[in-house]
Amino acid sequence: MTPKKHWYDYLWICTIVYFTLGFFNIMFAWLGLISFFLPLLIAIIGGSKAFCNRYCDRGQFFALLGGRFGLSRKKDMPGWLKSKGFRYGFLIFFFIMFFQMLWNTYLVFAGATLKQAVKLFWTFKVPWHWAYHGDAVVGAWVPQFAFGFYGIMLTSTLIGLIVMVLFKPRSWCVFCPMGTMTQLICKAKNGKKVKAELAEE
């Protein structure tokens, strides 16, 4: 018997749609903010990791490619990669890079010229000008944020694909900054209760 399928088991489609839309029009990159705020809201208000456990399109995408399509070696990850030190270190690194992206957006807001490129692995600038169709009404910082955010989304997905191939399908989930952050929120919220329960068992 395989577990029953629900509507939310097909959200992996969103990953494909997101990157395709952003390839043709970078403004769609803004939609990625949903997968930024939703997991945090669910963790803060609901005190759970329901986003990871149920709705995350990216986790499903890796499970599908690595599992069903067999694109994963299905080997154990090395210990350091799943250590708490690496998980928290990666979260901090991710935050710093995120704020750098916001800073670049601010610079364009303050008058710098828009860079029509997507930065991969925080290093390589890939031309992406075909996805840009003229100045937004609001200002050049709007597309600048879109380019920056798309770069972060693409980079993290590429890293996820690499560890998917090398290790298990959803290896990315072990050090995914969103996953680490939501678990930390849940620990802060429910940690005491859970510890007390564990002590009783």
């Binding site: 018997m1 577990p3 986790g59 154990d76 290790f167 959803r170 989930c173 995914c176 996953g179 429910n190």
Partner: protein, 65 residues
């Protein structure tokens, strides 16, 4: 009752829920977004969760009577 059942290393569990998704007996729940909890009365020791866990934190243990 099966001979074996799954055990999670909860101190290192990232609560991703990969194990929960593949369990044919719905024996796994993610406790408060912190760790995976196995319902021993439901678990049949098939080992699917252990294979799936990206951090390889689940092992099978012989049931104590």
């Amino acid at each position: 009752m099966s001979k074996k059942h799954a055990v999670v290393d909860i101190a290192n569990c990232v609560a991703c829920g990969c194990c929960r998704k593949v369990c044919p007996k719905e024996a796994i729940g993610i406790r408060c977004g912190i760790y995976a909890k196995i319902d021993l009365s439901r678990c049949v020791g098939c080992g699917k969760c252990a294979k799936e866990c990206p951090a390889s934190l689940i092992r099978l243990e012989v049931r104590s009577a």
